[in-house]
């Protein structure tokens, strides 16, 4: 097997808010792919729901002129992540492919990371997750089922990235840009292709092209809460407003 070049890829994602319809297909796909515990009405009321990617909604105006704005929020995989220096046991660190990695079996649940994340996209397991019998066969064997007391968050479906890279290495093919095998579940599920995932190190990939085009002054690209200086790897594209 050829030696893996760890610096080859830099994973990034763009989220086009103009294309996003708020259908939540990404939320469902993520829950299915990553064994995210089931949230019921009680979890939402108690503010303990776990949604690795979720759609934030903000209402404006009154009926009948009410408008809703929504934005998919997921872990930004910041290059200058504020959550990384504070973990006492190195349960979260930045790997060489630009991902902010969460190591479940190292986490002791001190919850320093979640206080330091400006985007509120880290989640804590307050209870032992329970699945009804009928859903137990649906659990993804590639992903750890987390016990209580552990932090979790979006991983850019690192299990899919690892699997595709291993396949490519073993079988000797190059990974295509936009390959559905390496895309996270949310990107695959999005009906409008609002989510685009790819390798920022490849200048021809779709994410690089979007970044190049939209990061100019005339472009729609922006980072969320830029003044914190977190250097996120997720680029949001502004909604085009009707004049």
């Amino acid at each position: 097997m050829a030696q893996e070049d760890l610096n080859k890829y830099k994973w990034a994602m763009t989220v086009d808010i103009d294309r996003c319809t708020g259908c939540q297909a990404c939320v469902v796909a993520c829950q299915a792919e990553n064994n995210v515990p089931i949230n019921d009405a009680d979890s939402f009321e108690k503010h303990r729901a776990i949604e690795w990617i979720h759609i934030e909604r903000y209402w404006e105006g009154e009926f009948p002129n009410a408008k809703v704005r929504f934005i998919p929020l997921l872990c930004q995989h910041c290059d200058n992540a504020p959550c990384e220096p504070v973990c006492p046991v190195y349960a979260t660190y930045h790997n060489q492919e630009g991902l902010n990695v969460q190591v479940y079996n190292r986490c002791i649940g001190s919850r320093l990371c979640v206080n330091n994340c400006p985007y509120h996209i880290r989640f804590f397991n307050f209870w032992e997750a329970e699945w009804p019998d009928s859903l137990k066969n649906q659990l993804n064997p590639d992903v750890t089922v987390r016990s209580r007391g552990i932090m979790e968050k979006c991983t850019f479906c690192i299990q899919r990235i690892r699997r595709t890279k291993r396949d490519a290495n073993v079988n000797g093919f190059e990974i295509d840009d936009g390959s559905r095998a390496i895309n996270p579940a949310c990107v695959n599920a999005c009906p409008t292709e609002a989510l685009v995932f790819g390798d920022m190190n490849d200048p021809n990939s779709k994410v690089s092209t979007i970044k190049e085009k939209e990061s100019k002054k005339s472009g729609r690209g922006y980072h969320l809460m830029e003044h914190y200086g977190t250097s996120p790897n997720v680029i949001y594209l502004k909604k085009i407003e009707k004049k």
């Binding site: 504020p82 220096p85 200086g229």
Partner: protein, 475 residues
Amino acid sequence: MKLEYDSKTRKGKLIYPEKVIERSLGKVPPSKDLIDKHLHKRGGMFRISLMFTAIFSVIGILGTIFKIINGFDNLSDWSVYVTACVFIFTTFMGAPMLSMATKVARGNWSRPVSRLSEIFCISGIAGLLMFLPILWVLPSLEDGRNTLWFYDPGKVPAYSPHIWTTIAMIAFILTALALLWINARPDFAILRDNSKGKNKIYSFLSWGWVGSTKQWNSLRQRVSILGIFYFMLLITVHFCLASDFLMTLLPGWIDSLYPVTQAHNAIQGGVAVLIIAVFIAWKWGGYKQYIGLDQFWGLGKLLFGISLLWVWFFISSLMVLWYGKKPNERDVLQILMFGKYLPVFLGTIFFVFIIPFTLLILNNVRKSFYGPPIIAISVLIGNFLDRFRHYSSAYSLDRTIDENTHRFANLPEIYVPSIVDIMVLLGAISLPIFLILIISKYVPIISLWENREYILYGSHEKYHHTEVLVEGKPY
């Protein structure tokens, strides 16, 4: 009291009799020697220092006039001027704190040097004179500069910071002068009674002091209340200077600790300046009999502790600003510490912390006559460098913002003082000393009444097989 204890059988109660030391006011009159020292004509060295400081003060005033003529528009021209002015407040005007603090804590060792520390109150006049032009230098709030006074056009005056700081400063200096006068009143009375011929000015200054119990009680009360006010005003003045005259000029620098840091640096500079003044009084003033090793030792211990505290304040600020890696805070640290001002910053740490800490930690250095003064000089150099890196960088800052990164386009170079700036700096150091020398002709620099109390309350006694110092704690 009798001992009822039989050491052979170990029976009976062992009561330690209170050993009574007899003293009397009559046997400890106000020191004739000190009165003579104060009243006789000043020698050659005094006159030479007076002349030199007078000349340099005039040079400083000329420098200030040049600067005023050149106008108030260019903020960066005034960098060193502001540094020099704040330097006066963080050194000379911090010295009276020793007298106030030891009076509250009822320490005995500081009595010989308390008048020396109070006499620094007069340097506030120099500070105020230097401060007044800066009121025209500091921009008003109309151009959108943030301030602590929550500027609301029409409701809050656009010159609020100027007004509040000036009021605080005037109150500070008046309190300091009042403290000096109240503490010196008994001395003026002693001089009035003991000087032949020159009574008029001393009877005016003593304002009817007779030394009755009521007058003494009211003196102690007034000193403690005014002392507390002095401390509060010191903190207020440094709060106003550090926030409105410094932090608002460096966008992105929101440091809630810095006013306290500057007040603490003022106390450190004050103790350092006091040590040097005590050394001069000891070596060349002829007061070797009255200032002893105890005083240098106490001041050395204080300087050591305060220098350690400097590091604590410094790290507290640095830790919070550095850890989060926020872009605007990183820029502030580049400007103040790690960027172009790095040599100044390293100099600051070296002179203000490393030298005092490593040397004063040795008991031999702390408890010596030459150790604390040499280290005090190092502290003063470091204090100046500290003011320089903060005030010069803030005043000479180029405030253009880069469009793409939304951060500072250019970081400031180290501001090189011009000839006029050096003139002003010399004046800033000399004018307070000149004022102190002048006033020392009328105010005795070793307090006559405190010297008496020092002898009354401190007593060397034989204690078992050794000799110890016994200190009385009257109140």
